[in-house]
Symmetry: C2
Subunit: 259 residues, 2 copies
Amino acid sequence: MQQERQRPLILISNDDGYKARGINSLINMLRDMGDLLVCAPEGPRSGRSCAFSVLTYITLTKRIEEKGLTVYSCNGTPVDCVKLALDQFCKERKPDIIIGGINHGDNASVNSHYSGTVAIALEGCMKYIPSVAFSLCDYSEGADFEPMRDVVRKVTADVLAHRLPKGVCLNVNAPLLPTFKGVKVCRMAYGTWGNEVVTQRHPRGFDMHWLTGDYTNDEPEAQDTDNWAINNGYVAITPTTIDVTAHEAMAEMKLRIEN
Amino acid sequence: MQQERQRPLILISNDDGYKARGINSLINMLRDMGDLLVCAPEGPRSGRSCAFSVLTYITLTKRIEEKGLTVYSCNGTPVDCVKLALDQFCKERKPDIIIGGINHGDNASVNSHYSGTVAIALEGCMKYIPSVAFSLCDYSEGADFEPMRDVVRKVTADVLAHRLPKGVCLNVNAPLLPTFKGVKVCRMAYGTWGNEVVTQRHPRGFDMHWLTGDYTNDEPEAQDTDNWAINNGYVAITPTTIDVTAHEAMAEMKLRIEN
């Protein structure tokens, strides 16, 4: 009983839904490392960023309850899942770590802004709980996450043991490869989405626009970025801040605007 | 004609919808400063962050077309509005500035992560277009934005004249006061939302959870934050970065994880 209570509490969510292969692989990888509390969307919520439900209500449905694993689904966004799980289930016992993923598809570079998976880590970080987002560069439903097992376990163990600096979470992106050359701690690459809109005619006679696009790494030569790492066979780990201040721009802006 | 083409093109969106008082006040304030292209959501989209429409289509409806002012509404998110406006209307002539707001309610501290208004500026910044988000600390529909006129015009003129550093946009928050003591260039305060969930019983017999909450400034003594500025009568201008890397945490994380 004493020993039981010392197992870490690991809160897990994702943006592909609780049935997705990525989150179920993650559960499998972490099952022996702690008590897992999963609260994940009912279905796909890609591209939801830090969105939360302002005007609509959220519901929770218990899906699994067994020793060391509880799974809820939620009709809301990834951030809703984290807020609700913390409020409803974690008042007595705070999670030791919050993990988003494993995402089907990469969340490197500017994608981190749009990602619901990264938003889970940001939300945890805003609550001062060590948090990590894991993603694999494979959008397919049937993606194989097994190559990530070692890095997922190693990063989770490290964060459980040493926590993370205040305001910092981790955004981990793995390339689509059977094995990795290693792990690189990187900065976010500057990159741009282009050709983002495809327009079709709806059968009822109006234009419908779909968002899609092509991504360009705007710093292809730089070797210290997340894009470089995943393009060169490494797992990219980007320490990610919730402090959005452009500190290095403050002096100039003070001179320009503050008087 | 020559002179006509030299007027700046100002792309405007918001997250309260194209009918909101805030965006219409902004249009009024900027009308003589350039050609205004407005593409804003059909209705309220607060708390949508950088969310964009992944699986659903987006539609556009032209609402106003007159000399120097074109207004479209869009059924999507604030970021959808920016992406669509750039793709559909700005291929020949790129906006000189993108402006989000004026938001009904403050987007200081961690609120910037959830804000659709700030997301407009981030989206512009990700496209290397100088971008600014304006918010007023008044959530009410009938908020009076007139006190912001001078700062809105001054900041817009400054950014049009001098642009912004790469990867940096501005998050401007004004206190709810008839006049301001001045303008402070600040960093984002660390703050936390608590008591975020209210649960009610739906008439049909299930729990519905609503997100709400109380905000706490976790650094009340610090005088260099956005929270301090707006609580002390100043307009807070936070230079905001799209580079989410926690650069100062990289050395430690390299030692811990990279080997």
